[in-house]
Amino acid sequence: MKLTGAQILIEMLKQEGVDTIFGFPGGKVIDIYHELAKTDIKHILVRHEQGAIHAADGFARAGNRVGVCLVTSGPGATNTVTGIASAYMDSIPVVIITGQVPSYLIGNDAFQEVDIVGITRSCTKHNYLVKETEELARIVKEAFHLARSGRPGPVLIDIPQDVQQKAITFKHPDKINMRSYNPTYTPNMTQLKRVVQLFRKAKRPIIFSGGGAVLSKASQELTLLAQKLHIPVTSSLMGLGSFPGTDSLWLGMLGMHGTYRANMAINESDFILAVGVRFDDRVTGKIDEFAPNADIVHIDIDPTSIHKNIPVHTPVVGDCKITLGLLNTLVDKEDFTGSIKGRKKWLTQIEFWKRTSPFIYNQKNIIKPQYVIDTLYELTKGDAVITTEVGQNQMWTAQHYHFDHPGQFITSGGLGCMGFGLPAAIGAQVACPDKLVVDIAGDGSIQMNIQEIATAVQFNLPVKVVILNNQYLGMVRQWQELFYDKCYACTSMDNTPDFVKLAEAYGATGLKATRPEEVEPVLKKGLSSDKTVIMEFMVEREESVYPMVPAGKAINEMLLA
């Protein structure tokens, strides 16, 4: 049977189990859309291609599967670049399909031509320009394999229009044959035995988990190990949810806006088990003074993460889930009662740090943003899928919402991309139709992709948006207050739109709270609605996120208020 390139693409997407695509049509993907319309693959029509890629990202994280995004050539493709970069930094499995001008026009500066493979080379795990229809099936299969295996990441496939139109005899590619790609899943056992001995020796141990632990679904193994050995756990922003946020061993987030106890503990520790982290500068602070006395074991599937920022003593290349599973087995064979007893002092010290510096705020006449998140946490019983934008809203969420499960907290961690939260929430809601999905936003970042409210309404996605409106680009304002003589250069946004009217204009529900006593009723009403809802909270304008480690300072040099 002869199939066109477009038909082959659809056939291969079905083979890969794709049932949802986030996209936006255009001249160079008409053929694909024509075929797509004949299938039962759900297509979510976004309002801007950046929305499509973030939604595919949110879908991938919440649904634990590859997200797919389909856009046209030129501007359609370039509009996805920010979202691709975000997915790349956070290692999210996404396949991006872009249309391209016909192959005989490539290089001619044709209408809507852009070298998207060239542009995205440094922000994709891999990318392809399909030159012949005959290569298409194999490339699609490889792309999905690359996106989800090893350290996951975005993979882009650029398909010229003539390649989509040409009909060939279709043969299903049965096997992937990539001699140069073979990620290491199973770690070296000798290294693991060494790690077990370090567990025994450690007096002040700590586990530090990151996005890799979430991606490899290692939470169960991680939790088991920590509880078995009585080792306290902290996470990077991306690792939140990999260990239950309500467990007594939980220290809270590490880093620039981490908890006092997590930062103190990592610096005083004599042993760090780092699981799926990359020691980003937001976590380490000043590198030379990071955890000076600790023996560091670093588990990661990507060898380039190891020794990149921090020299480690025991590198373990492998999948986090498999590695922690093996460690659990090794630990079970030995008796650790002695070393656990020896840790009493350490746990008491941590308890002391915990009591001395909890997150504090004083809720008086004006709504405190932290109070909104605390109330949201209580009302949702910690069970919602939360996405965030970037800035203060993101940090307050990380501090005040306690995540018990992986995939529950969806944020643009590495790239720190404003405008991420709403489309990501749309993707998460499509992946988890029965879950409550809330985007916690600031008034600045929500306006970067506010148009996607229309998408949510069109597809009956009951996404809830909580806007913490301080009429500032709050995180930058905070830096200006602390480090730039309170010169609030261009960070005031006192002309924010009327979000309630805006919501209504889009066909969504708009609610607003201006006084503290309105917070709970507004949240209750909004959360119980089965529609798309924007809830706006007029919060204290100059509230800052504390504690804070100023950029370039050591991780234990924290400003507490």
């Binding site: 080379r121 891999h126 140069s180 020794h307 020299p311």
Partner: protein, 162 residues
């Protein structure tokens, strides 16, 4: 830590865009490329890139891992500090006025190089060898007047066990 020169031999898929991926990795991460030489191997599906780079040990370790992470990179050999042979080829177009011609030919002879193009006013000389040899001949020809130079950059292969 002190910067040192490293010589890497990288086998890659012989496909368009692969060199751009390798070069882009270096420019994007701020690594140095001192020289770069690419050509097909006996397997038409594979090319060999020989690259000289500079950095301290930890940077070069990171470079090797980052290179290997590229999907089209099949193998990365670090030849630094191992038994290997390395060569570089250089073409030198030198001013050859009658009064210098004999001197130039003497130098060519001493360096076991050869003249590959000749004109009334110039010789083009082909020399292969180590970096030291090439700099030596260049410094001898310089006073006579070098018009143009083209060099390949280093290529290298490891020695087989004896």
């Amino acid at each position: 830590m002190e910067d040192k020169k490293y010589i890497l031999s990288i086998l890659v898929d012989n496909e368009p865009g692969v060199l751009a991926r390798v070069a882009g990795l270096f420019s994007g991460r701020g690594y140095n490329i001192e020289s770069l030489c690419v050509a097909e191997t006996t397997d038409p599906l594979v090319s060999r890139i020989t690259m000289v780079t500079k950095g301290d040990t930890s940077i070069v370790e990171q470079i090797k891992k980052q290179l290997f992470k590229l999907i089209n990179v099949i193998k990365v050999y670090d030849l630094t500090g191992t038994e290997h042979v390395q060569r570089e080829l250089i073409l030198i177009k030198v001013n050859a006025k009658p009064e210098f011609r004999a001197e130039i030919l003497r130098i060519v002879d001493i360096f076991r190089s050869k003249v590959v193009d000749v004109g009334p006013e110039h010789f083009t000389i082909e020399v292969t060898g180590s970096e030291e040899k090439l700099s030596a001949i260049l410094s001898l020809l310089k006073p006579i007047g070098i018009k143009e130079v083209a060099r390949t950059g280093k290529i290298a292969l490891s020695r087989e066990a004896k």
